[in-house]
């Protein structure tokens, strides 16, 4: 399992080093699929980080800021550190390094954003919805990603995730309620 984790972190490192937002976005989704399948919070956090880096690279506002170059270097160094720790089977310490990367991301985000809700929170909701799409319950998606329930529900509500599924309709379910109200 450590080797597959290292492989995923390496891919994120390469994509960020090459400043390839499209690849970071794709990685965020594939890593979340793996995270959901294994219910692995480390991989889930890596997915969120990949998503945030994709958003940062996609925004000239962030990329052209005075803070970007330093953040780019710090994040790449942290990623190298995380790789070494995972290879050394020091997973808890590697998690702390991922937390450190998140701190850098939210720090630059706080300086540049116009929004109250930060980039990392948005990543949690976006990838939490992906975990739900992959069959996890909403509570399981929340546990995996740390997304806020109400934000996640509202986001799911405005997507077409539910429209892809069938099931028993409202009229039929009213018959279930007869046992309560008649």
């Amino acid at each position: 399992m450590a080797s597959s984790m290292v492989a995923e972190i390496e891919k994120v490192k390469v994509a960020f080093k090459q400043e390839n937002p499209d690849h970071l976005k794709e990685l965020s989704n594939t890593i979340m699929t793996e995270a959901a399948m294994r219910f692995d919070k480390f991989l889930a956090q890596l997915s969120l980080i990949s998503y945030c880096l994709y958003k940062i690279l996609s925004s000239l506002h962030y990329k052209n800021s005075e803070y970007y170059e330093e953040m780019h270097e710090i994040v790449l160094n942290d990623i190298d550190q995380a790789i070494a720790l995972v290879e050394g089977k020091k997973l808890e310490e590697a998690r702390k390094v991922l937390d450190h990367i998140v701190e850098h991301i939210t720090s630059i985000d706080k300086k540049l954003t116009h929004y109250v809700v930060d980039l990392y929170d948005k990543a949690k909701v976006k990838q939490g919805s992906r975990a739900y799409l992959l069959g996890l319950s909403i509570s399981a998606a929340i546990e995996l990603t740390g997304a806020d329930r109400r934000k996640l529900q509202e986001y799911i509500g405005i997507t077409n995730i539910s429209d892809e599924e069938g099931g028993v309709g409202i009229g039929k379910r009213l018959s279930f309620l007869k046992q309560v109200f008649e």
């Binding site: 992959l134 319950s137 529900q153 429209d163 409202i170 009213l174 109200f181």
Partner: protein, 223 residues
């Protein structure tokens, strides 16, 4: 009498759409008791009360308890033990590439446990995974295969163990409660009953209830 147990998702959808008075209306129309597990109280009230952005919604849901429309069922050792048992079974039913899928968590599990202790009833839950495990577990397998683009294995013995353990549980969503409230006259005081019903159904959908546009349209066309 048939009791109803609420999941936090449905309560949050109802409160965020300002429909909590509907719960009072419905509770007055039945001798049955409405419950929420303690974990749902934490998730829908205690936790968001500390977050300014969600505080008002939590207060709305708390008023449902204060008004005695819904009772909190505390987590007894029996419920905890049953929740752990159901957790071990349910989260071993489906596997992809030899990984067991951990698809339900505490809130949903505790609601199912509570209904088991109550010997059956109605589960009010807006999200679809819990509903599908109870109603159509093999359809859930098909959905998972589509999403993972890989074969999904069902442990039929675990599934049978789950189905034998739980009582008869009927699943409804917040939209279904809206339709029930309408059938009982809830929207009669609005300037246009059908318009209010339509608006409330769509409001629940956009608040996260797993209902399709087609379902809503079909139901409204029969009104």
């Amino acid at each position: 009498m048939t009791d109803m147990v609420f999941d936090s998702g449905a309560l949050i959808s109802i409160a965020s759409t300002c429909m909590t008075p509907m719960l009072g209306y419905l509770s007055g129309k039945t001798p049955s008791t409405f419950f929420m597990p303690a974990s749902v109280e934490y998730e829908a009230i205690s936790r968001p009360l500390k977050i300014h952005r969600f505080e008002l919604n939590a207060i709305r849901i708390k008023s449902v308890i204060e008004n005695n429309w819904i009772k909190v069922y505390e987590t007894t050792p029996k419920i905890k033990s049953l929740t752990d048992k159901i957790n071990n079974i349910v989260n071993s039913i489906y596997s992809v590439r030899k990984h067991k899928l951990n698809i339900l968590q505490l809130g949903e599990l505790e609601a199912i446990s509570l209904l088991t202790i109550l010997e059956g009833g109605v589960l009010v839950i807006d999200e679809r995974t819990t509903r599908m495990i109870i109603e159509e577990p093999h359809e859930l397998k098909t959905l998972l295969e589509k999403r993972y683009k890989a074969p999904v294995n069902i442990d039929e013995a675990k599934l049978a163990e789950f189905q034998d353990l739980i009582p008869k549980i009927s699943v409804v969503r917040s939209v279904d409660l809206v339709a029930q409230a309408d059938a009982l006259g809830y929207f009669e005081s609005y300037f246009n009953r059908k318009m209010a019903l339509e608006a409330a159904l769509y409001a629940m959908k956009f608040a996260g209830c797993a209902v399709t546009f087609e379902e809503i349209e079909e139901y409204l066309s029969n009104q």
